[in-house]
Symmetry: C2
Subunit: 359 residues, 2 copies
Amino acid sequence: MAQKKVTIIGSGNWGSAIARIIGNTVVQHNATFQTRVPMWVFEEMVDDRKLSEIINTEHINVKYLPGKKLPENIVAVPDLLEATKDADILVFVVPHQFVEKLCNQLKGNVKSSAVAVSLIKGLSGKSTSSKLRLISEDISETLGIDAAVLMGANLAPEVANDNFCEATIGSKNLATAIELKKLFHTDNFRINIVQDFQTVEICGALKNVVACAAGFSDGLGYGDNTKAAIIRLGLMEMMRFIEYFYPNTRIKTFFESCGIADLVTTCYGGRNRKVCEAFAKTKRPLYELEAELLGGQSAQGPLTAAELYDVIKTRDLLKMFPLFEAVHNICIGQVPVEEFIGKIRNHPEYEDRSNAEFH
Amino acid sequence: MAQKKVTIIGSGNWGSAIARIIGNTVVQHNATFQTRVPMWVFEEMVDDRKLSEIINTEHINVKYLPGKKLPENIVAVPDLLEATKDADILVFVVPHQFVEKLCNQLKGNVKSSAVAVSLIKGLSGKSTSSKLRLISEDISETLGIDAAVLMGANLAPEVANDNFCEATIGSKNLATAIELKKLFHTDNFRINIVQDFQTVEICGALKNVVACAAGFSDGLGYGDNTKAAIIRLGLMEMMRFIEYFYPNTRIKTFFESCGIADLVTTCYGGRNRKVCEAFAKTKRPLYELEAELLGGQSAQGPLTAAELYDVIKTRDLLKMFPLFEAVHNICIGQVPVEEFIGKIRNHPEYEDRSNAEFH
């Protein structure tokens, strides 16, 4: 069998960190993969030089992952169709607002046997109040190919540092999952595969809402007990939500890196926590704090909370999700952050358990 | 029905924090409980005064919970049999090395209809390499009464501060669980009840071993990704261990406060993490660091790791528990702490998943 061509679509902080991994695994498994890996770069000028040229001569993404060498077989290509020509595996790692435009460009230009794997955390912009929509579904439907996902407790700077960590690949198809594991699994980036890709993907979006709640708790000066309760209640709402929309979800998936591990990391070390802690302390607008604290990156939590709120409200499910509701209402200024704990104190999790629920 | 008499056995930091809760709930539910609550105090002299007298006049446990008022219906009693006379509910909250002696004193002096509830985290000293033994089993068998447990993400100083948090009550018996919920559930201390008391109790012991691993990670300078992976792998080993000894364990119990929430709190804010972080940084003996950092309290993690190691080794199960094994070997100086990640890199969690395991 011919070796498969891998293309990385995206070259930000996370894309560059993952390129360091893929550049090595394709060489290690050169019977399976072509060793030259094009990386589509959104072209921009850095000190009067094209970013793609800098990457291809210095092998460093000076703008988004300074100081870290990329393997030389990672080749920056600013033209999307050239980068993805004849690709068998498309690794999507771009901010989620770019997905639709990129897929529309790719449409009709992708092998029908190709597979996509999305590393993008968030919900599709095409979610409506009546239908939840995944980014992998957008990719899959637009390109007419299968789309898997990779999610996990993966703060990009630490992955770029080769710190030991884990991730979860979700794919309907076992053969695809095994092949993708080959592409990502290294000594320090440990992969598990599961079939339950929707759960994997939605966990990656919803955890940011819980991280906002954790940030409020930190900003209000509560300690570890309260934060643990919030993380747990948030996880319970994530599970309720996913079970509601995908009744076939597997409870074990929540024990993978994409579940509890990513949630914990995000609630302790992530961007949404940071911005929402500052919000609780200063009461300044979120967009100001985001600009000030995140150096150009964005906090998805408040946006995801708004999307969730829409979906939940339309279905008259607000009572099941008091934490999600409260995060949204606090983010839009409808509820003072000091009232947060009051909003989750009578969480349905604390309802009396009858014989049936007494497990 | 006559109101039930509640006795608190123990008056340390956690005992005093819980006394602040119970002193209020018995008044709130005075149709169910007697409002006078004896608290057995291990008598000691504090500035030439008896601790029990200080508590009964100033209503502050100046030694173990300074600065926090105890409700006046909490009455310090230094005589164990006097404190527990005619008691219907015995709340055990003492260091676990005291349990055996106290139970032997109580034997034959407890109502046969009484129930115990243990707040003690650890394994019984009577565990042997061939049989795991729970503290609640010691209590139950010695006194001939039912014993429930209460565990959760409950750092005592934060509970004493009335910060919002949660706990889990485990009891075989639904009626007992409901009654105990009444005794502990408040606006800021939120209780869930489960039947699966063994899981609740063992989680409370095993999490300290995982917290040692988290401490090593912190001391070695790894970040949030690595710590999240360690917490997750530790949880997987906790689940394997409990499922092995108690095949009827319910996976949902791990989502209660006694499970993931307590684990996270302990891995971020607990004593074992702290001592093991210092150990990884300084290589000084654990007992020295414990004496220096914990102000007289002890770190149960290394002891529990040794007990676990015994049980696992005897059954030839070491391969299933590389994290538990590594923590023990590092604590006893058999393995350098720098080798920790190497010991979990090929964790059985990462083994290839066949069709059957591809969920």
